[in-house]
């Protein structure tokens, strides 16, 4: 039972990696007042570019860098539409999702002729598990041993990065000048403008940060957790991240907890597939796969309570006269 729990939590951390990164991306963008429904598309784009470049060059690092670049590019498209031209942010984000979902497999097919997927990466071209020091030695220690060597050790670099980033982003938001201005521009851009700060440049920086984080998230999907790009491999994780961010009330720590909760249901879901439960017997796999999404709906509908979004979230800033 104890080991089952450890293994469940272990896979929770793995599943949570892209969620946490994408949710932090959404958080940075939305605290700055730009709604980012294009997390999904940016992640998918980065996943594709990372896997493609990694498979061509054999370097996961080059894959990661180019994936981030692709994601930033998409973020800039979003910024250009919604910040420079005051376009509707949901439409622009959605457009990115749709374009990438079609474009990535098309290009993939042209290069690899594998029906839109990319070839499987060798371990050298992936971010593989990192053994923390002493993990093997401590394995036999009761209770603490498995927690350290099974749960905490043996994840890939991007998973560790995701969890380190949360306190960093929190620090950035609440302790730095940039964070103060970012939060201000998401609440009242006019106040920022009259204080002599450029609203547009601040918001561009916010969406670019979101681009970088989505780049990490995408790379983690195709070159760390998985070993190739597969069509639609994000499978709604971008939207789930958005839900986690809302559930976490746009705050880094609570958003992290929300991501972990979603990831945990996902891990449970994976474990329940094909398992015969008492009384009900075996539950059809389709129902089990629904679990995280059903929970999202229920949590957002019922349990969150009053959620107050940043006041200017989604509002283009247009000077009045």
């Amino acid at each position: 039972m104890f080991m089952t729990l450890i293994l469940l939590l272990d896979s929770t951390l793995r599943v949570a990696t892209p969620l946490v990164l994408a949710a932090m991306a959404g958080l940075c963008s939305e605290r700055g007042g730009v709604v980012d429904i294009g997390l999904e598309g940016k992640m998918l784009g980065a996943a594709f570019v990372s896997a493609t470049v990694a498979s061509m060059t054999g370097s996961p690092w080059l894959g990661l860098l180019t994936g981030i670049a692709a994601s930033i590019l998409l973020a800039l498209v979003h910024g250009f539409a919604s910040i420079t031209h005051n376009g509707n942010q949901v439409v622009s984000g959605m457009a990115i999702n749709i374009v990438v979902a079609g474009l990535a497999p098309t290009i993939g097919n042209a290069i690899f002729h594998m029906n839109g997927d990319t070839p499987a990466l060798s371990n050298a071209a992936r971010f593989t598990a990192i053994e923390l020091p002493g993990a093997a030695a401590l394995k036999s220690v009761p209770v603490l041993g498995p927690i350290y060597s099974e749960l905490l050790s043996g994840h890939n670099l991007l998973t560790y990065l995701a969890f380190v980033l949360v306190p960093l982003i929190s620090w950035m938001l609440y302790k730095t000048r940039f964070g103060l201005r970012l939060r201000a521009v998401g609440e009242n851009p006019e106040a920022v403008d009259t204080a002599g700060i450029s609203v547009q440049w601040l918001r561009y920086r916010a969406v670019m940060i979101a681009g970088v984080l989505c780049g990490f998230a995408g790379a983690s999907l195709s070159t760390a957790l998985g070993a190739s790009f597969i069509r639609d491999m994000t499978a709604g994780k971008g939207y789930l991240a958005l839900a986690a961010m809302i559930f976490g009330k746009w705050r880094p720590r609570t958003t992290l907890l929300a991501c972990l909760l979603f990831a945990f249901t996902d891990a449970v879901q994976a474990r329940l597939q094909g398992v015969s439960l008492p009384v009900v017997g075996e539950i059809p796999v389709q129902f089990i796969i629904m679990l995280p999404y059903v929970m999202t709906v229920f949590l957002l509908a019922g349990f969150v309570g009053r959620v107050v979004a940043p006041k200017a979230d989604g509002e283009p800033y247009v000077k009045e006269h």
């Binding site: 730095t176 103060l180 609440e187 204080a195 006269h321």
Partner: protein, 527 residues
């Protein structure tokens, strides 16, 4: 920002150069000439008033001084030096601070965080917060501007929020402070306090530019006053040498009656009575707390209060927009609002409850609709304009043209979109819609908000005429002058409660002000 080093001709007498000098400023928005050859000279260490109706160009002029807009032509001189102000940060650097009509504060932030925003100093905010805390204490001592630096803006009353705005400007080293309609949201006592602060600022050598449409304030606090009309500067006066009447005339371009002419009311039988109405909002706060009153035929009942103390909710309950769980309202002998009764504004309109909503942009009109379409909102099921299947749009237009003639709406074009009319004319369209349906009870919220003086006079006359025709009128206004000059009886609301009733003859601004601030001031105690 660029100083070209050219000095203005030094003023006669060799005294200090003017703090601010605008010379021949022009600014157009498309075909609209918002400012034409505007010139103004503000002497240092004075309070300089700028009056003018809505749309006269006051705000545009100040927006150019504060770097929000670039002038099409003309020049700006600060302390005698010609400068180019391309952005608010240029203005801040030149020692110009601005307190906007709508506060530029970040609501979830603390006072300190708001004060340092934009002038943080380093990359981390810890040290600047500490520095600001010390500086705020100094400013508080020097100018009497006390605010808790750790309070969150959203928890502060508007009077204190405004103080934070002033502190923000002073923290940035402002020598010249522009205040845009600063007293619109304040109680008379808060306004007095603000004027004392302005006095102190003047005494310390700061220059204050006060934009307002309240002539009384101009007379009370300013040294000099400039009058704007239709984008031009029409007069400059020393305050001591002018009068409210003269200023009003200059603003409007013709003689206006500041006092409303009216005969004593002769109230008849009771039309509407509100009994024990309590309204609790989603967050559990009591918006209306055990409200009781009645209005008779032929009287205007005024509701005074600082905005946000339940007046809006009261109007929404009375007009049937918000249902209530506690209490009942009886209109012409039967319940119109009661627990379990489904509120229905359209049905109430049919029974004779007219409603001029407080915020015409949000509730009273649809800005993209034509004037004619706006005149049927809420009365769109009227059989007079409906055929068996289709609406008789010609009839709607014709009726609207009639309204426009009787209410002097300019331009009289039924097909013009509502947004194409000035504030005063929009309000006349709304009033025409409600009054022409001959209601027995007329609910009026902020009838002259954003309305020019000429239209105010007209609207006030129409409201008195309604009363004299034997209708019951409920007037909600945050303008005490308006309440005092129109109402026959005055109720004061504070925090959802009716905190007092006074007859209009006995009421004084002082006494109402105290009641509006929630300080108990029964007439007999104050007398």
């Amino acid at each position: 920002m660029r100083h070209d080093g050219k000095h203005a001709a030094s003023p006669a007498g060799g005294g200090p150069p003017p703090a601010v000098e605008l010379v021949g400023l022009n600014k157009s928005f498309g075909p609209v000439r918002a400012n034409q050859d505007v010139c103004i000279t503000v002497q240092p260490g004075t309070v300089h008033g700028i009056v003018g109706e809505n749309g006269a160009g006051k705000s545009t002029m100040m927006a150019m001084l504060y770097g929000f807009y670039k002038a099409d032509s003309g020049s700006i001189r600060i302390n005698g030096e010609t400068v180019s102000i391309g952005s608010p940060s240029d203005a801040i650097e030149l020692g110009i601070g601005m307190v906007h009509q709508h506060f530029m504060l970040v609501e979830p932030f603390t006072v300190l965080e708001n004060v340092i925003l934009g002038v943080e100093g380093g990359g981390l905010i810890g040290t600047s917060l500490r520095r600001a805390r010390k500086e705020l204490k100094r400013l508080a001592d020097e100018y009497g501007l006390d605010v808790d630096p750790d309070a969150r803006i959203r928890d502060l009353p508007v009077g204190l929020q405004q103080r934070v705005e002033i502190l923000k400007a002073l923290y940035r080293g402002a020598q010249t402070l522009i205040l845009d309609e600063p007293t619109g949201v304040l109680t008379p006592q808060e306004a007095d306090h603000l004027f004392r602060i302005l006095d102190t600022l003047r005494a310390q050598g700061k220059t204050v530019i006060l934009i307002t449409h309240k002539l009384r304030e101009i007379m009370a606090i300013t040294d000099n006053v400039s009058v704007m009309r239709c984008g031009t500067m029409v007069a400059h006066r020393a305050t001591a040498e002018t009068s409210q009447e003269e200023l009003a005339e200059l603003m409007v371009g013709r003689t206006v009656l500041l006092r409303v002419d009216k005969q004593p009311a002769s109230p008849g039988e009771c039309v509407v009575s509100v009994n024990d109405v309590t309204l609790v909002d989603d967050t559990g706060r009591k918006r209306l707390d055990n409200v009781n009153f009645s209005i008779c035929k032929g009287e205007i009942l005024g509701i005074a209060g600082v905005s946000g103390n339940g007046q809006s909710e009261l109007l929404e309950v009375l007009s049937g927009i918000t249902p209530v769980k506690d209490g009942r309202i009886t209109f012409k002998g039967h319940d119109i609002v009661a627990p379990g009764l489904r509120a229905n504004p359209q049905e109430l309109r049919r029974q004779g409850v007219g409603h001029v909503a407080e915020d015409r942009h949000r509730m009273g009109m649809i800005m993209d609709f034509s004037a004619a379409e706006n005149t049927i909102l809420g009365y769109h099921c009227d059989p007079e304009i409906n055929g068996p299947l289709l609406m008789d749009l010609d009839r709607v237009d014709k009726r609207c043209a009639g309204y426009m003639e009787r209410f002097d709406v300019r331009p009289p074009l039924p097909h013009l979109a509502a947004s194409g009319f000035s504030g005063g004319n929009q309000q006349k369209i709304v009033l025409a819609r409600e009054m022409e349906h001959d209601p027995d009870l007329l609910l009026v919220g902020q009838p002259t908000r954003g309305v020019d003086i000429g239209a105010i006079e007209f609207i006030h006359k129409r409201l008195i005429a309604m009363r004299d025709a034997g209708k019951a009128v409920l007037l909600v206004s945050v303008e005490l002058d308006e309440i005092l000059s129109l109402a026959d009886r005055i109720l004061v609301m504070f925090d959802g409660r009716i905190v007092g009733e006074v007859s209009a003859e006995e009421a004084t601004e002082q006494q109402l002000g105290l009641m509006m601030a929630g300080i108990d001031a029964e007439p007999e105690v104050r007398a």
